[in-house]
Amino acid sequence: MLAEHRLKAFQDLITQSSREELIWMNGFIAGLVTSEANGTGAPEEMKAAPRVSKISILFGTETGNSKKVATEFATQAKKRGINVKLSSIDQYRITDLVKEEYVFLVISTQGDGEPPVTAKKFYDHIHQQPLGLDKMKFSVLALGDSSYPMFCKAGEDVDCQLNKLGAKRIVPLQKCDTEYAEEAATWFSQVMKTLSDGGSSNTATAPAKKPKGKKNYTGVILTNLNLNDRGSNKQTHHIEITVDEDVQYEPGDSIGLIPHNRKELVENILTITGVDPDTAIEFRKERYTIAEALTRKINIIHLPERVVKQYASVIHQEIPDTRIDLIDLLRIYPVKDAAQFEQVIPILEPIAPRLYSVSSSPEAHSGEVHITVARDRFSINGETKYGLCSDFLSQLEPDSTIDFYVHKNTQFKLPAANKDVIMIGPGTGIAPFRSFLAERDATGADGRNWLFFGDQCFVTDFLYQTEIQNWADTGVLTNVHLAFSRDQQSKIYVQHRMLEYAAELWQWINEGAYVYVCGSRTPMSADVENALIQIAQHHGGKSATEAFSFVENLKEEGRYLLDVY
């Protein structure tokens, strides 16, 4: 019945297995056959006690959503008497992997299909090491954002790779969009059901649910102003968007925005391809004119290698693996004619949205959403270039419209009103803290607030200065400390100010303050973390190791929260 190589594998398995394992396999296969016969549909509420008693739940998180989901599931599983080992992937001892029997991973995807930074080591390890994971049974819950071309890619990769390494997938990969709660719950029910069935492989369960779409809003630009004064190296736009309907968001959330491509660039593409701008086309199941699609929907810059490969096959030419702008591709490897360009359209990917922390508060700025956008300027071969989305946003005129959706950040939330909050947000990292402060001001929250802000120069770069002054004057802010790096010979950053006020900072933390960090991941958030560890050493009398775990514990308790990028 079995093909030769499969038969051999089967026989190998049997001869190498212990008696107990054989019994287990017997039950497993029986279960499998039954479930296939019954055609499992929607998961049922479990009644029976699970037959598997020990599992590991690992999470790889960026914004904290994966952690939240994983923690919730771990709690549920424990209630059912399962011994759960819950761990962030970066804290998981990677050598334990080969010993694992039941592993469930919750992992998000960043940017162009990247795993979260905390999961990078794990991701590389499983892709680079010749591991034998034959003992393992697993399932992956992938979180992501369907607006990105590489939706849930990290989850897919991990799922696929574990399988390759010999681990057995017992519940199919579940991808979730930004509104993940329902799909995640479904996946977990299936996991639990499978475990109660004795951990039988359940690959034939109902196909994973298609992620739900997300709520899109259309807003009108009310104000768009550059907060930096003349003479600054920076250009930071404060953008106020007004929306007719009630936007559901909380301080700490972000919004996702799709930038438009630059007009000149689109015109160049239209000219070089000779295509009629009004040609009607379909892109990702919606109809547009080609000009409209190229402006608002299709990513035309820095095309990934996978797209370049497909382009090469459409025009039947050899093109080396590289990332390149569409216009350059069209110049170097031209399409035959307009018709061939139309064939290129479907292989192109949609413009990925960019996330911006909301800098307004629903309580203080009702009917509006504010964002704080640094116009990203960089130089390539001596030519000044601007980041697509920040450039697009910085140019938006009042009264123009913009589409966006809310991206929940469940971890980065204000604590109870009576808790103290320490906010460390240099540069555009100030955004969520403007939201926090406005919210706490509007709601009269009585917890103390302490802000660390920094930028290049006091005179030109003190974002939201007058608002911060007002909060300081009215007592909403108990402390404000500022670090302007270029106002003196030696560079001063927020972490230096933290160390300067270490004793008081330590006191706040000891009294239960929540610490929030927003802004650039490197080097800022790492420097801030080092400062916290130092403070725990010098003012908490802890050893280096103790101080390190103190800070880790703060994270575990949800009292040290990051929104870094």
């Binding site: 102003l225 550059n226 907060l227 930096n228 004064d229 404060h238 006091f458 005179v459 030109t460 003190f462 974002l463 939201y464 200065q465 007058t466 608002e467 911060i468 002054q469 300081a472 404000v480 400390h481 500022l482 106002d487 003196q488």
Partner: protein, 557 residues
């Protein structure tokens, strides 16, 4: 004595300031603002500073959610307007590092620097201190910088008289060490007795107090525009004493008839250093005790003098001095102008007076004053003097060094510029006004050069191009450029509008009067065109514009 129960808010700030300390240290530590606290803004003046902001930028900064662009103006105390080459170098570098870059020579013979951010104030003062310069009492309700005839060629006794400027400056210094504690981080005194101040007590003066010393026949210091004016009396090239005048002051307030500009009244003559210093000291104490402390608009010595009556004031002064003033001695003023170009003094040393329009030392398309002065300073062969007409004198040049200095002055076109500027332009003075002066109603130093350029063709037209008519402009009626003592004055009333005043004389002993109210630039030019035409046709031989205006009753005296 003034009523205690109706003191102005500034009086309370002074008295509770703990020797002018206030909360200045805390103000400097406030990271979130470039400003200092409200009360400290009054106190910082006593340390030679004003908090200002760039008024051109207010609206734009507010929109950007940034506070106003606050900065500080620091004015130095330079009695008699004399500094060394080394001090000029220090000044040059401080100006480059922390300020707008412009070194401004004031109408009271000192230097002020603008645009210093709060965080740079201490470094600025520290650098000054290293160069033995300070800004103590350069502003505030105390004796201000003592001015003295600048030109070293008048007499052999110039140095002796210049010594009076330094001694009077020392006499009028407050005893508090606050300046050294706040700005230079010196430890506070454990024994506060050293700070006991019999002159200023804890309340200082009701208002600023200005002392000027003139050496006839030149009145370049505008001696009668000072609260206390000393006119040196020389006999056989020896200083025999001073005529002492009281009650000069330029300030007035639009629409407040009880305010007015006033020239000093000569009270008498005093001789001998001890008596001269005593007379000035007691004039300060009379003002301290009799000056108005409830209304700052009416608190200058001139109002004290007029309220008491000149005789009563003089009697009080003599009582406190313990001696009587002798009768006024005769003297003659012939002008107020500076002696431009190269001149030799009594010792055989050379000096060069460079024309600095509105006192702004900078490099521009016409000349490179700042670079030239730095190069000269770096030679360490000369000294620098400032005049009350806002010009700079390269002083004490040895005969053998003159060609080297001259070459630098030519290289940077200073000599060209000084020689070619019209007499009218050289006689013009404007105050700072916009964009930093908080009192300004209209522009001054930013528009006067342009207005002069429009007046020059008028003078050419009527053959008056060699007339050095004195023209002064202020952005408000407070009179920082001593406008009321000019032949022609433009006094700002609103943005773009000025009162036209005429009739003052060329020696600073007669005030001008209002001729036309609130003229814009076009109106001013039109009026002056008509006046110059009549003046050129009907004036007597040698008759000045101011004297003519009085004679033909364009304004009533």
């Amino acid at each position: 004595m003034s009523e205690k129960n109706n003191l102005s808010s500034t009086e309370h700030i002074k008295m509770k300031s703990d020797g002018l300390r206030g909360t200045l240290k805390e103000s400097l530590k406030d990271q979130i603002t470039g400003a200092i606290r409200e009360d400290d803004r009054a106190l910082v003046k006593f340390h030679g500073m004003y908090q200002q902001d760039d008024r051109d930028r207010r609206a734009e900064r507010s929109e950007k959610k940034l506070e106003w662009l606050y900065s500080f103006m620091i004015r130095l105390r330079i009695p008699g307007g004399f500094i060394t080459s080394e001090q000029w170098e220090a000044l040059h570098h401080v100006a480059g590092a922390y300020t707008t870059g412009v070194i401004k020579v004031t109408t009271r013979q000192t230097i002020q620097l603008h645009g210093i951010l709060k965080s740079n104030v201490k470094p600025t003062i520290k650098t000054f201190n290293t160069a033995k310069l300070d800004s103590i009492s350069a502003c505030g309700d105390v004796n201000r910088n003592v001015i003295c005839a600048a030109h070293p060629k008048f007499s052999a006794v110039h140095e002796e008289i210049f010594g009076y400027a330094k001694k009077l400056s020392q006499l009028g210094l407050p005893k508090t060490k606050a300046y050294y504690e706040v700005w230079l981080d010196e430890k506070s005194l454990t024994d506060k007795k050293e700070e006991e101040d019999p002159l200023y007590q804890d309340r200082y003066l009701p208002r600023k107090f200005k002392i000027g010393i003139a050496i006839p026949p030149n009145n370049d210091v505008d001696v009668f525009a000072n609260d206390c004016g000393l006119v040196a009396i020389l006999e056989n090239d020896k200083l025999v004493g001073f005529n002492i005048a009281a009650g000069g002051g330029m300030g007035a307030t639009h629409g407040n008839a009880s305010t007015y500009p006033r020239l000093g009244t000569v009270l008498g003559f005093v001789s001998g250093e001890e008596k001269v210093l005593k007379a000035v000291y007691e004039m300060i104490t009379v003002q301290r005790d009799f000056g108005n402390r409830s209304d700052r608009k009416l608190s200058r010595l001139k109002y004290t003098l007029d309220n008491m009556g000149v005789e009563a004031f003089k009697a009080e002064l003599e009582k406190r001095c313990g001696f009587l003033l002798e009768p006024e001695r005769p003297y003659q003023f012939t002008g107020r102008t500076d002696f431009y170009g190269w001149h030799k003094n009594h010792e055989g040393k050379w000096y060069y007076t460079a024309f600095v329009e509105n006192g702004r030392v900078l490099d521009d398309e016409q000349q490179a004053l700042k670079t030239a002065f730095l190069e000269i300073a770096q030679l360490h062969k000369t000294n620098f003097r400032f005049t009350c007409n806002q010009n700079v004198i390269i002083a004490d040049v040895n005969n053998e060094d003159k060609p080297e200095i001259d070459a630098i002055l030519r290289k940077y076109r200073i000599i060209d510029h000084t020689s070619n500027a019209s007499p009218l332009r050289k006689e013009s003075i404007a105050c700072v006004a916009f964009n930093t002066c908080p009192l300004a109603l209209a522009e001054a130093q930013r528009v006067l050069p342009g207005l002069i350029s429009k007046m020059e063709p008028l003078l050419d037209k009527y053959g008056l191009q060699d007339d050095n008519i004195s023209v002064r402009m202020t952005g408000c009626p407070n009179g920082c450029s001593r406008p009321y003592a000019a032949e022609i004055a433009f006094i700002g009333t609103a943005y773009g509008y000025y009162n036209l005043q005429i009739g003052g004389n060329r020696t600073g002993t007669r005030l001008n009067k209002l001729y036309k109210e609130s003229l814009n630039e076009e109106g001013i030019i039109q009026e002056l065109d008509g006046l110059f035409k009549i003046y050129s046709g009907k004036r007597n031989e040698g008759e000045t514009f101011g004297d003519f205006a009085k004679r033909v009753k364009w304004v009533e005296y």
